[in-house]
Symmetry: C3
Subunit: 397 residues, 3 copies
């Protein structure tokens, strides 16, 4: 039995009826079975591609990507996922830093979606705005579909918002599952999601939030560590706590990087901006107060600089389980002595984990494709089986 | 009988032999049957897509789009149309404001067209230049094809020039046909194509010109209204007059918005620049006279500001037939109190017509696809029937 | 027998086993049979397309293009080649002038290649850097493939580096073969690859180097002519000498344009920067010495201006064989009296050769497609025969 067929049979055991025609905003909107389904389909699509099976589920159609922040890897992951399924990517280049106006979004959403099967949006710059923009956008598409304007209702894939970064964190998790030889081996493992110093400021909170919101579902003990003042959104803390209680694990917040790293099986040290400051920045942008923004940024950089010891050094790595925790990063990292003088991680640590880091990233296109697949295909089990049994090849000759 | 089949049978009754391998510059180049054919094929392609039939007529091939002015919706409409037929869109980004040099155009045209099946060009900025550029471009492709340089002769689709905006106006008209329940119900209806105030200046004349050049062919009484000084190109006025005479309707030009709106069944209030000023601007650009341009723009804004009462207010709407004329706009509109302080239309009017406005826009991809289809397919009737009968799906699973 | 079948049979006689899964950096890496194979497949793909046969060898997949220098025609040629074979082009826009850092390249290479079948890179700006960047990039992909990060190992196509411009020179050569009625008619023909004045400076050396490195393999007597100070890379001179010895022809370097043009069958007059100055510029860029660069550029322009008599005038053309040598250019040319006051070629000369010049360019998409084809298809002879025998059409209806 092929791996894809095995995965299709596993998919058959899951409750996944609500995924058809649904969107993907946040992982905590989804049931455990639904999360499992994404991983299963991602692995199946990868297996089919490895065996040169065509995974086109579309003969034509568009995947629209909207990046309200710069992006290389997420953009290519989305384009790759679309191509894998038979969709052509079209980029909507907004080149607008202004915060979303509901009315304009409503119009744009319909104008670009006449033949769109998927909409991927990255909008992570402003607290309280990113998710709202995505929701407004897809609500407008829903409206357009119901009113005969759009022939189809595109599916939204959140390519990063102010709250969650599900395509990243799902790829991270799928990587962890494979590194540990299966989801059944994760119970009781310790994860350190920690802040780390970077010479830049203002990195989104969506990765740490996404990680604590997802990893706590797998019975792993998750410690979130950051200096005072770098708290994440309280709503997500609540979600992590609830997840931990449900999956029978511990979720802790601490201001000590060492405590988090101590005996950790997995470490995810990365920089992010303080939530309160990001909220302040959003308000300054809304007022168009450029001077205020400049002052705030200077303050943030100074605040960051007080915590240069929060770095994933060789010393810190020695604190982890056998000194060999799995090091994760969403990339690109600020690497001490390589891309900057002082950064998130020692060059020697980063370099030692290059293979797993790149593998971690390699799951993202398949995770995105799986999200699209589950939203678009009526009978995903049968479809996987059909694709596996078909003699249609991706590389024809 | 499926709707697509019904439409294919209607297509069979039309004289359309000259459309194969032809371009689409201006609607008035086309016979009534040819215009009818575009509408028929657009509706058929939409019906096929609604029923998940694949409408790929190409296995590979490129649609090149050239936007010499910014564009979101026309760009996405063109990309969507190409994708619908199996072509990949490639954008030629000229980032050049300079006016076309014949020699350069000749070379560019050949260099980007080696595998191009369609060329879509938007060049609407300069009176006397936009159409010329498109003509020069496609003549160069014709030359290349006849001299063994190009394997195929691409079809030109005018995505807006200085004279006409056929993909827009054909979409507008198809929308009107459907809103009124068929082309047979249009006879005697009154259309008000009127100027409206906008805080910007220099909007192209191609929409009002396109509308009076097309809508007068359907037996509708068309009134063109604008303040003094906002005259459109006299050649197009002549075409509208001739059309009106042929279709047995009235074509009027007036300087009163009220007169136009009075008992109108359809209103199309939108801003455009004065033709004479646009001609002046073209000359200033050709001389590279930046100071002259700045002076002219200031003058135009002041001239505009004298006519702020030319706006599609609730008051004005009351003048129309039962106060319920169909409101048209090519979008985006300058909406009073929403996108600007004083603009083309009241927010409440615009909002009431949101559904029909978005539907109006939704026809554009299909109209463009129909133009390509008629130029590329040798036996369009048989092809539509084949696509309808085929079990090839757009969404395969 | 179809032309494509004939070409497939010719391909069968060649030793081409090493081309599968290989890259294309420089023509001199390839054996005579391998060069012949590219020409043969390029002609076959063109014949298949002319006869409306589908040449899709991929059902899905990406071709990534990276242009570290501006490009229109090479970009469209690459996009066309990808589309012809069933790949979707995705552009990686680096917008970076900085010289490649190994580590960053390694990461980018993997991040964009998860579903990439081909990588096309143009990096021609800096001596000693362009090829290095391409090599570093593809080595990183090789690494990623061997370490389970990438599902497939993409093929590199050099779209121009600091050393060679193989897609250009192979297209040039294929054009020459057809113009002279077959490769067997080239023996003893004289080729003048000469420098020519242009009002710009700093054009890459890759075209003259590519031409002398390739044309000397066909038994043609090649003269490289340039003013003192415009020497090309000594390594490539050595290659040209070795080629000439092997193919039994003469390779000469001279400082006289007249000597090169005298009785030439083919002339290729074009501007390039002096190698030594380009090396200096690379160092200045590495140091970030903007002032030094400005001074150097001024010096280069002054140096250029001393050689305005190096131009392909009507006078010079009279020196060639019967005054009718085949004029080649990679385009765009600096045309005296058309695109500049004094340039590489007289307007009347350029104009007389317009058809062959455009035909020359028309081979590039097919040459690129052939490079991809040979690297990706396991049994190219059988595949060409299958494509020829298939009833799958490119234009389906």
């Amino acid at each position: 039995m092929s791996k894809a067929l095995e995965l299709a049979r596993h998919l058959e055991t899951l409750h996944i009826n609500n995924m058809y025609k649904d969107d993907f905003f946040w992982t905590w909107d989804k049931t455990d079975d639904e999360i499992d389904a994404i991983f299963t389909v991602a692995d199946a699509l990868r297996d089919l591609r490895e065996h040169n099976k065509s995974t086109r589920i579309f003969d034509s159609g568009l995947g629209i990507s909207i990046f309200r922040d710069n992006s290389t890897r997420t953009r290519f992951s989305f384009a790759s996922a679309c191509n894998l399924l038979g969709l052509e990517e079209q980029v909507l280049d907004e080149k607008v830093s202004q915060i979303a106006h509901g009315e304009t979004v409503r119009e744009t959403a319909n104008m670009v979606s006449f033949m769109a099967d998927v909409i991927g949006i990255r909008d992570d710059m402003f607290i309280g705005e990113g998710h709202k923009y995505q929701k407004t956008f897809i609500d407008a598409c829903e409206y357009g579909y119901r009113h005969g304007i759009l022939e189809q209702r595109p599916t939204l894939v959140n390519l990063q918002c102010d709250v969650d970064h599900p395509t990243q964190c799902m790829a991270d998790m799928l990587h962890v599952i494979h590194e540990f030889g299966g989801v059944e081996n994760l119970k009781g493992k310790k994860v350190a999601m920690t802040w780390a110093y970077s010479p830049s400021y203002g990195k989104p909170l969506s990765v740490p939030q996404g990680v604590i919101g997802l990893f706590t579902r797998f019975g792993m003990n998750v410690t979130l560590a950051h200096p005072e003042g770098y708290e994440v959104m309280p709503e997500v803390i609540e979600i992590a706590k609830k997840n931990a209680a449900a999956s029978g694990c511990e979720f802790k917040v601490t201001n000590s990087m060492d405590e988090a790293f101590k005996d950790a099986d997995i470490v995810y040290p990365k920089s992010w901006a303080p939530f309160a400051a990001m909220e302040e920045r959003t308000k300054l942008y809304q007022k168009g107060d450029r001077e205020g923004i400049a002052v705030l940024e200077k303050k943030l950089l100074a605040q960051n600089a007080e915590h240069k010891d929060w770095t994933c050094s060789e010393e810190k790595m020695k604190l982890t389980k056998d000194g060999k925790a799995l090091y994760l990063h969403c990339l690109p990292a600020d690497i001490t002595g390589l891309s900057c003088k002082e950064g998130e991680v020692d060059n020697s640590v980063f370099d030692r984990y290059l293979d797993p880091l790149y593998k971690q990233a390699s799951y993202k296109p398949y995770v995105i494709a799986a999200m699209i697949f589950m939203a678009k295909v009526k009978d995903p089990v049968k479809t996987l089986m059909d694709l596996d049994a078909s003699d249609k090849h991706r590389k024809i000759y």
